[in-house]
Each structure stands twice: as C-alpha cells, then as structure tokens.
Amino acid sequence: MAELADAAHAAAEHGAESQTVQEYITHHLSYLTYGKFPDGHWGLAHTPEEAVSMGFMSIHVDTMGWSLFIGAAFLLFFRYIGLRATSDVPSGIQNFVESIFEFVDAQVTSGFNYKNPYVGPLCLTVFVWIILMNMMDLVPVDWIPEIAMMVGGLWGLEHMSFKVVPTTDPNITMGMSISVFFLILYYSIKNKGIGGFLSELAFHPFGKWMLPFNLIIEIPTLFAKPVSLGLRLFGNLYAGELLFLLISGLLGVYQLPAHFVWAVFHLLVVPLQAFVFMMLVIVYLNAAHEPAHDDH
C-alpha cells in the first residue's frame, strides 16, 4: 500500500506541476502506438497527435501486448494444470481451475442446446480471458505506466503512454465481438443453409408480404449483436478506468479510500461483464444453430 500511496502522491504532484488533470487523464487514455506515419515510414508514435495521424495503419502495442500476454498466460497455465490433473480427489489449484471449467460447462450445457464441441472451449476462452483483462483495471492506475515511462525513457520516450487494461480499448472488445459475429454468420449459414439464413432476415417476423419491413428490423438486429457485445464491455471498463483516473487526478493525497470503494464496486463489474459476454455468445450461437423456420 505504501507503494500505491507513493505512486499516487507522485502522480498528484506531477499533475500539479507539469500537467493539468485533463492532460493527465488524456495521457492515460492514449495508447502506445506503432504504425505508419503519414510520410510512409513505420515507427512508434511519440505523441497522441502522431498516433492519431497514423489512422488505421497502426497497432496499439500496449493493449494488444497485454491482451496476448494475458490470453497466452491463462491458456498455458490451464494447460499446465490440465496435464497434471488426476481423476482422484483434486488438489487446491486443480480444484480451482476445475470449478471454473465446470461453471462454464454448466452455462454452455444449459444455454446451448445443440451438439458442437467447440462452443465450450470458446466460452471458456472468452470468459477467463475477459475476466483477466478486466482485472488489469484493479492494478493502481499509475504503477505500470510509470514503470513503462521509466523504461521508455531509455529510448527517448519519457512521455510515452502505456495503457494497461485491454478491454478499455474498443479495438480489443470489437475485435472479439466481430469474431463472434463471423461465427454467428458461419454457423447460421452452416446450419440453416444460405437460403434459410436469408429467409430468416427477409420473412420474419411479419411474413413475406412485409419483406421490406422485415429487412429493416432484422438487418439492424443482426448488426446490433456484435456492436452491442463489444461496446457494452468497452463502455463498462472504460467508464471504470476513467473513474479511477478521475479519482487519481482530482483527489490528490486523499484518494485512497475512494480508490478502495470504487475498486470494491469494480470487483463486481469485472466478472459480471465477462459473464455477460460469455452468455451472449452462448445465446447468439444457440440461435445460429436453430434449424431454419420453414413455415413460410
């Protein structure tokens, strides 16, 4: 806790002397970006403006890196435990991993009514990965960025941004939700046939004489799925992170109790959002496996 206080204090002083609160927050909400400069060469952006000038042809090294690191660490850890798992009475850590596994499996079994051996692993991956990415939110907001700035200073990047929570990057959340969207399309067409899939869009809910209205209703519904899925997760975590930043930027040395209260509250949001994401994946994929309606 002393470190936390120190870091917070340093940040507060830092903010008071050289940065306004707005600058402090903006800095924390910017990404460490590697991309193509307008003049054509590739490199790390030194300022947020440079990062913006890169447009689409850039990659957020920080959130992407954390996302990959967390995902790989979780999967390797689970594999490590799985390889040592026995069917006897499970020991502590195996028990813990198994309880997560069983929890996810129970959700899939109850929510997904068709046979598809890949849905379980998908849900496990999504659930644990998102929980862990969200949990990065609970690391005090200045720890890792300050360390990153010290390391970055060695290469002349003493003001570099370093975002720690991958799920506060819409690229990360939308990257996952769009992947889920493609899965919805893939499984819909696979199970209903392209005709069945299109007829669901065109002839529902009002029958074939209302086709334009059906399309007006169904097409936005279809596209709303990935958008709402990705933005819900992003919005919740972004808001949570922003509040941590506000507390850190505005409250000075008296911020600790506020941090604590918000962290406790956030402890509910972290698994809840991961759970919501997983449940919606199950619901969407279940709908994609439903046989085509042939009553029209």
């Binding site: 999967l75 798992a85 692993p121 991956t125 819409p170």
Partner: protein, 156 residues
C-alpha cells in the same frame, strides 16, 4: 474512437486462443472429469451391488438357519426315538432276563422239591418198614415185601 489494425490482431488472437483452448486445454479437463464421473459411478454401482449381496447373504443365512433348525429338530426327534427304543429294548431284555431267572429259579426249586421228595420217599419206605417191623414184632421177609414197598414209595 480510433479503430486500428489492433482490431484485426485481436480477432486473430481470438481465433488462435480458441483453437488452442479447444485442442490443448478443454479435452484435458473434459477427460479428467469424465474419468472421475465414471469412477464415482462405478463406486456407487459397487456400493449398490455390495448392498444387494449383503441382502442376499442375509436371506441365505436365514434360510440356512431355518434348514439347520429343522434338521436339528429332526435329529433331536430321532435321538429321542432312539433313546426310547433303547429303553424299551432294555426293558424287554430285562423282562426276558427276569423271566429267565424266574424260570431257572423255579426249575431249581422243582429240582429241590423232587430231590426232597426222593429223599422223603426213601426215608418213608424205611420208616414204613421200621413201623411195620415194630407192628409185626417180627422180621418180615425182606424179599417178599420189597415189591410192595417200592410200589408204595412210587405212589408217594
């Protein structure tokens, strides 16, 4: 919102992680838990079987006990019968022996009586001769009376 290549990177990561999980993580736990489920099912089945076996064994033991009781009762009956038979035989034998002894005793007695009669007869004839001698005060011709006396003695 700045959408960048990150979104594609994350999509790729998503599919790679999914594939890894489906191939190298999920089956491990699935297998272990299926194995454990099987073990538990086997255990429960064994327990049920043991319980049934116990029930059968108990039923069998009561049956055997019943049979044994019946057998024991039969044996006791037989023994009782044999016992009374032995007693009866012994009684019969004893009676036989008793009657044999009685018969022997009677024969002895008869013999004794006969012997006494014989002696008595001899003495009677002597007494009769002596008496007759006294009465006659003379000697009788022994040879002449011998027949008459013997006749008399055999009549006694």
């Amino acid at each position: 919102m700045d959408i960048t290549l990150t979104i594609i990177g994350q999509s790729v990561a998503f599919f790679v992680f999914w594939w890894f999980c489906a191939k190298y993580v999920w089956p491990l736990f699935m297998d272990v838990m299926e194995e454990r489920r099987q073990k538990i099912a086997d255990g429960l089945e064994a327990a049920a079987r043991a319980e049934k076996d116990l029930e059968l064994a108990q039923a069998k033991s009561t049956d055997q006990l019943k049979v044994a009781k019946v057998e024991a009762a039969g044996i006791i009956d037989l023994a009782n019968k044999r016992g009374s038979q032995i007693v009866d035989e012994a009684k019969d034998k004893a009676k036989e022996e008793a009657s044999r002894i009685i018969a022997g005793a009677q024969a002895d007695i008869e013999q004794e009586v006969n012997r006494a009669k014989e002696a008595l007869r001899a003495q009677v004839s002597a007494i009769a001769i002596a008496g007759a001698e006294k009465i006659l005060e003379s000697s009788i011709d022994q040879a002449a009376n011998e027949d008459m006396l013997n006749k008399l003695a055999s009549e006694l």
